[in-house]
Every structure is written in C-alpha cells, then in structure tokens.
C-alpha cells in the first residue's frame, strides 16, 4: 500500500504538523504513515482524505502485493 499524502500536502502547502493538527494526531504519526511504517485506521484515513479534499481510494493506493497479504 502506498499513499500520496506527501504529494497532496505539498499541493495545499501543508506541513506534517499542520495536517496532524487538522486530523488530531501527532506529527510523528503523519510521518510514519507517509513512510509506510504505519497503516492508519479507516477513521483516520477518512479524516486525512477529508482535510486534503481527495477521495480515500486516490490517496491510499492498493498494490498487487497487498491482495496477497493476510
């Protein structure tokens, strides 16, 4: 699973701290999501998508390898 949070943040000129404040988490959590170290909950993913005004499926992109997981 990859995500375009960094790209979308840049589009709105938001820092990690700005986005974190808007969705109510820490900057470290946004960093971990961007780096692919942490998969957010559905609720948090929706919040991030809402702040960045983008569809969740466009923000978080499933890859072929993800279908074989779990």
């Amino acid at each position: 699973m990859r995500n375009l949070i960094k790209v979308e943040r840049a589009r709105y000129n938001l820092t990690q701290t700005d986005l974190a404040t808007n969705v109510g988490v820490t900057r470290q959590t946004i960093y971990a999501i961007e780096q692919g170290k942490f998969m957010p909950s559905i609720l948090l993913a929706f919040k991030i998508a809402s702040v960045l005004q983008i569809e969740i499926s466009e923000l978080f992109i499933m890859e072929d390898i993800d279908f074989n997981k779990l």
């Binding site: 109510g24 988490v25 820490t26 470290q28 959590t29 960093y31 971990a32 942490f38 948090l44």
Partner: protein
C-alpha cells in the same frame, strides 16, 4: 477495540509511589546489611513494620509502577497505541521464551510472581521507550 488508559498525570503519581517503595527498600536493605542482620524478605529493619506491613508496601510499589505503565504519554494517538501493544506482545512472549529456556537449563528453577510482574512491567517500559526513540524521535 478502544483502550482506556489513565490520564497523563497518573504517570507522576505512579512514579512517586514506585520511587518511595524503591528508596525505602534500598534504605531498609542497607540498614539490614550494615547491622549484619540475616536476610528476612518479610521484615523491615527500621521500625516501619509497626505501621506498614511489608506486603502492603510491596503492593504500593507494584501498584505504583503499574499505574505508571498504564498512564497515557503526553503525546498519544493510534500510532502510539500500536507501538505500546507491540511492546506488550514482545515482552509477554519474550518472558515466556526466557522462562522456557531457564527451565531447560535447570528444571527446578522457580521465579516468584512478584519478580515476574516487576520484570515484565520494567521490560515493557524500557522496550516501549527504546522503540519510540528509534521509530519516532530519531527521524
């Protein structure tokens, strides 16, 4: 699953209780050693036994460190909860593996429940701190 943790200020309450327990235990053991008294795990050397039962004292110490471990960190969200749960998982199975290996080495080996309890909580706190440092603070 929603995990309810204690508010952050409980960290200070837990720490004060545990430090009081630890400090008194050290002073007690020092006095006992200084007076060359035989080791007595259930007694206290400096007259406190009239006011405090040793078991109650142990309970306060263990409760203190448990309260410390259960209190929220200043920075707390779902990523922190994930790190915390992973640390608990690692400590739990780490302890089980340690006990298995220890029993293999000497079959009559035993460990008291209070030592296990204390070792698990301290290991959890240290592991959680180290993982947070390497995964978050070092970025």
């Amino acid at each position: 699953m929603k995990f309810q943790f204690l508010p952050h200020y409980f960290k200070y309450i837990g720490l004060v209780l545990y430090i009081a327990y630890l400090g008194t235990s050290v002073i007690d053991d020092f006095i006992a050693g200084f007076n060359m008294e035989p080791y007595n795990p259930d007694g206290m050397s400096f007259g406190l036994e009239e006011y405090l039962n040793k078991k109650l004292f142990d309970f306060i110490g263990f409760a203190g460190i448990l309260i410390y471990a259960l209190a929220k960190d200043k920075v707390f969200d779902e990523y922190m909860i994930k790190l915390r749960l992973e640390s608990m998982y690692l400590v739990f199975f780490g302890t089980m593996i340690f006990i298995l290996i220890r029993i293999l080495i000497s079959s009559d080996w035993q460990m008291s429940a209070s030592y296990l309890f204390e070792a698990q909580i301290i290991s959890f706190l240290l592991l959680n701190k180290v993982r947070k440092y390497f995964l978050i603070d070092s970025e």
